[in-house]
């Protein structure tokens, strides 16, 4: 049965019993080849499809979901959502579901990615392993290829359907003398993932990072690769770039809209339609994606909305709703940070004494109001002295306000890179940056 027909059938089950119904279908075919110590040790595939329902009766909402798509199970799920809605108390802010919309025609499905075989992934991994063995290092990582069928229909006539693919290769290379390096790439198109180039990037780093030294904790100038910048920007998103956080007073943006919160060279936005990110035409409520400028030239400009938070302020959703039920509120899944005109080489050359960071590990917010986060550096950090990389460094602990760091950015690279958020959902395209003062509170 076509997905559209399935959704309409489920809508019909509840038609006479509720005021509004929304049906969300997420079908997934995922495959992942995982390797470590230069061999494939885990290799999996998964196929699933879930129907999630939201029903509204007056001011009461119920939701239920199932991955059993036979008629009996679907009817039971509708009945469950109805039972839940009926026993629910009335909400203060009734949600009206979004209405019909037009969607951007984006190329989000690449057949080659969807049809990638275990043999093809194994061949890519073999190429990485061969390069690792040649350089006497160990390669670990994962190569995944996924296809998603996302469809939404509601009783107000909204119908949205999009197929999406994602290919991703993450690579950690380790060598003697506590050395390690990292590289990753992701795209909707598996053909643009270059295992050899990634292996060369990670191996080069690893070979440079042998026998790291400890560095005294303190404030240093720091050059952050896009992997590290992406982590900070997504953490910033998690600490208050969604409307619910702002409405509840727990966002760092509270009372700051229109004010300067970062350096003039910092502009951050969310754009789900940009092909340089991981584009998708609509959010999980079927609302078209829209570009939202969050910070422009250092000034706090706005936050992203879903239909619930938008209706509370009499605004329109910006297309940032997550699958219901969602208590976290809308989230910027497609973040971008504006490029500059510098390069990593220029940043190093301009640094008298500082630290070069490839990426962070296990970062978490410490204080949302001040946007302070903590985490460790990982997979190749270096001491820079007199404009040159001098020595690899052991991992360092960071305790730093993200906004303070973004207020002290002196150089921004022209090149940007698309990276995946490590601790939160979403993708982010960011440049490398040089921060003149960054706080490290410990070392290993």
């Amino acid at each position: 049965m076509r997905v559209e027909d399935l959704l309409l059938r489920v809508l019909n089950y509840s038609k006479s019993k509720v005021d509004q119904t929304e049906v969300l279908y997420i079908g997934q075919k995922s495959a992942l080849t995982r390797f470590a110590n230069n061999f494939i040790h885990q290799n999996v595939s998964e196929k699933d499809a879930t129907i999630s329902l939201r029903v509204i009766i007056g001011k009461k909402i119920g939701s239920a979901s199932t991955n059993r798509l036979d008629e009996r199970s679907l009817k039971q799920t509708v009945d469950k959502a109805l039972e839940i809605a009926k026993t629910q108390k009335e909400t203060l802010h009734p949600k009206s579901l979004p209405t019909q919309a037009k969607y951007a025609n984006l190329n989000t499905f690449i057949e080659l990615t969807a049809k990638c075989t275990p043999q093809e992934r194994a061949e890519a991994v073999s190429e990485i392993i061969a390069l690792a063995q040649k350089n006497k290092v160990m390669a670990s990582g994962a190569f995944s290829t996924n296809a998603m069928d996302l469809a939404i229909a509601n009783s107000l006539g909204l119908q949205a359907h999009q197929m999406l693919t994602e290919a991703k290769l993450n690579l950690v290379v380790t060598g003697e003398g506590e050395a390690s390096g990292y590289a990753s790439h992701l795209s909707r198109d598996v053909a643009v993932i270059d295992p050899r180039a990634l292996a060369e990037e990670a191996i080069k780093k690893c070979l440079q990072a042998k026998d790291p030294i400890s560095l005294k904790a303190g404030d240093y100038a720091v050059i952050l690769e896009p992997y590290a910048v992406g982590d900070l920007v997504v953490l910033l998103g998690s600490m208050g770039l969604g409307a619910l956080a702002l409405q509840e007073g727990r966002s760092f943006m509270c009372g700051k809209l229109g004010q300067n919160i970062a350096g003039e060279n910092i502009t951050i936005w969310d754009d789900g339609l940009d092909p340089l990110g991981m584009p998708m035409s609509f959010d999980f409520e079927g609302v078209p994606k829209r570009k939202v400028v969050l910070i422009e030239n250092g000034i706090a400009k706005g936050v992203v909305y879903d239909s619930y938070t938008a209706s509370k302020e009499g605004k329109s959703s910006t297309g940032h709703g997550l699958p219901a039920p969602n208590t976290s509120g809308p989230f910027p899944l497609h973040l971008f940070m504006k490029a500059g005109d510098s390069s990593i080489e220029e940043m190093i050359a301009s640094t008298e004494r500082g630290i070069y960071v490839t990426r962070f590990h296990y970062t978490n917010p410490v204080d949302v109001a001040s946007t302070t986060i903590t985490g460790m550096t990982r997979d190749a950090s270096f001491l820079i002295e007199n404009g040159r990389i001098k020595q690899p460094l052991k991992d360092l602990r960071v305790n730093q306000s993200v906004l303070k760091a973004l207020s002290r950015v002196s150089l921004v690279s022209k090149e940007t890179r698309l990276v995946e958020a490590s601790r939160f959902p979403g993708w982010v395209r960011v440049p490398a940056i040089k921060v003149d003062k960054f706080t490290f509170t410990g070392t290993t």
Binding site: A31, L32, R34, F35, N37, N38, F39, I40, Q42, N43, V44, S45, E46, D48, I61, A64, T66, N67, R68, T77, K80, A81, I84, A85, T87, Q88, K89, T91, L92, H93, P118, Q119, R121, A122, S126, I129, M138, S140, G141, A142, S144, N170, V172, E248, G249, R250, G255, P325, T327, Y362, N364, V366, T374, M376, R378, D395, R397, N399, G442, T444
Partner: protein, 478 residues
């Protein structure tokens, strides 16, 4: 269903697998959440599917599907074999499994009151009552109360003849109060890392959410005007809930043998507890005794059999401070010439079993909590986890707690906000000079332990009593 599973196993054998196992899993959950007086979430989920893991040409392959039907059985089994043969192209050596007994059996979480039998309205009314009491003071800007119910029915079968059925029931509830004033945010929760248990609805009743709500809301507000945590080296006493997370991050993950062998290096990292340290490395002081116990009632990592069909066990991990064992699976235990100690667990039907914590418990000591405070001249007592971060080898960490009190002259003094502490795992545990006794030992845990690629989220338990640590650096400054 059993016939289809047997067919998949037979098919895998016929097509060249030297080993195969199938798991069929049905998961059901119901989540209720009330926020600021409004029922925000009221949802039910049902997920059903199966997965087959095979060894062919000496390597692993796994495939899964939400449809358990004749044609799908053939397609998915073929897929698993195809994947195994692709894995074999890079193998260094054949996968070797530790032997296990053939088991035909079952396990069911003992429950007094099946939580799914409790009417929705009863649960909702409890939450509305508790949540209202959370926000008695105007500074409480966000007040939340939740109840979660989970039931997982599993059928496991392998080509060695095991046939196991299990039903794991988990439920819990909690409260979160967020106080905001002049741009400062303080959060207080109850019961923090003790919010869920493998038990019936009687566990939720025992939490007394209503009886604790007003205190939690009030403490969140008091934190706004509390003393800032000083930066110094001092004595630290940690409550069960905070110590549970400490144990989780610095011991539980560190003793996973796959991490120690490097097979998680590509994502969350490795472990400083490398195999040559086994049996001799001083992990902690003599006060520190840690077990992995999947048999203890109520633990979030309590079951009858792991997801490789290995019977639940109690394994000493740290004995009198010495690191004596890892958590293992069938294919990693053989690397140490051991048998699996039953720690292979999978997140539902669509994922492979990985080495996961069961219940990693700090054995009780001999101190009464009141005596421990009275015995401490100067220090800080911290409660309940707020933030955490640890390096990729589980060696250096930083934790933040929700609330603390200064200790002066053997008595709890002023409230302290934003408490945090840093340390190095073995140095930290070696500085432990007192662990409280059974009277304050509590089963805590987390529903959200993440590991692996694709990410698997699993529930794990931690039985802990408050403990004292000397010369700890507190109050991280930025």
């Amino acid at each position: 269903m059993h016939n289809l599973v047997c067919k998949a196993l037979a098919l895998a054998r016929v097509k060249g697998a030297t080993f195969a196992e199938v798991r069929v899993v049905n998961r059901r959950s119901e989540i209720l959440k009330v926020k600021n007086g409004v029922p925000e979430v009221n949802t039910s989920n049902n997920s059903y599917g199966w997965g087959i893991r095979v060894i062919a040409d000496g390597a692993w392959g796994f495939a899964s599907s939400s449809r358990l039907e004749k044609q799908e059985i053939e397609r998915i089994t073929d897929r698993a074999l195809q994947i195994a043969r692709a894995s074999a192209t890079t193998k260094k050596e054949d996968v070797v499994l530790s032997p296990i007994e053939k088991i035909v059996g079952n396990y069911r979480t003992p429950v007094e009151k099946d939580p799914f039998d409790i009417p929705l309205e009863t649960r909702m009314n409890l939450l509305l009552q508790a949540e209202k009491l959370l926000r008695q003071e105007k500074e409480i800007r966000i007040s939340e109360a939740f109840i979660s119910l989970f039931k997982e029915k599993k059928f496991f079968a392998n080509t060695e003849g095991s046939r196991i059925e299990q039903e794991i029931t988990t439920c819990g509830g909690g409260l979160i109060a967020t106080a905001i004033k002049d741009g400062e945010i303080q959060v207080r929760s109850y019961p923090n890392q003790r919010d869920c248990s493998t038990a019936g609805y009687e566990f939720i009743e025992s939490l007394d959410l209503v009886g604790n709500a007003e205190r939690i809301g009030s403490e969140a507000v008091m934190l706004l005007s509390a003393l800032q945590c000083p930066s110094k080296v001092t004595t630290l006493i940690i409550n069960s809930s905070q110590l549970a997370l400490q144990l989780h991050e610095s011991c539980g993950h560190a003793v996973e043998l796959d991490r120690a062998l490097g097979t998680e290096a590509g994502y969350f990292g490795t472990s400083f507890l490398t195999p040559e340290k086994l049996g001799s490395f001083r992990y902690g002081s003599e006060m520190v005794n840690i077990v992995a116990d999947a048999t203890i009632p109520g633990g979030l990592g309590t079951f009858g059999f792991d997801d490789e069909g290995v019977r639940a066990q109690r394994t000493q991990i740290v004995k009198d401070g010495i690191f004596v064992d890892y958590l293992t699976s069938r294919d990693t235990a053989t690397r140490l010439n051991q048998e699996s100690n039953g720690a292979a667990r999978a997140d539902g039907w669509s994922k492979i079993p990985l080495i996961r914590m069961t219940n990693i418990n700090l054995e009780p000591g001999s101190w009464k909590f009141e005596d421990l405070i009275a015995d401490t001249n100067e220090g800080i007592y911290v409660e309940d986890s707020r933030s955490w971060s640890i390096d990729s080898k589980r060696f250096k960490f930083q934790f933040g707690s929700e609330i603390a009190w200064e200790i002066k002259g053997g008595k709890l003094g002023q409230m302290i906000k934003n408490p945090s502490y840093v340390g190095v795992t073995p140095l930290f545990w070696r500085s432990c000079d007192a662990v409280c006794d059974e009277s304050s030992w509590q089963m805590c845990g987390t529903m959200g332990c993440g590991k692996g690629e694709p990410m698997q989220i699993i529930q794990v338990g931690h039985g802990v009593a408050p403990a004292r640590f000397r010369k700890i650096e507190v109050g991280v400054t930025t």
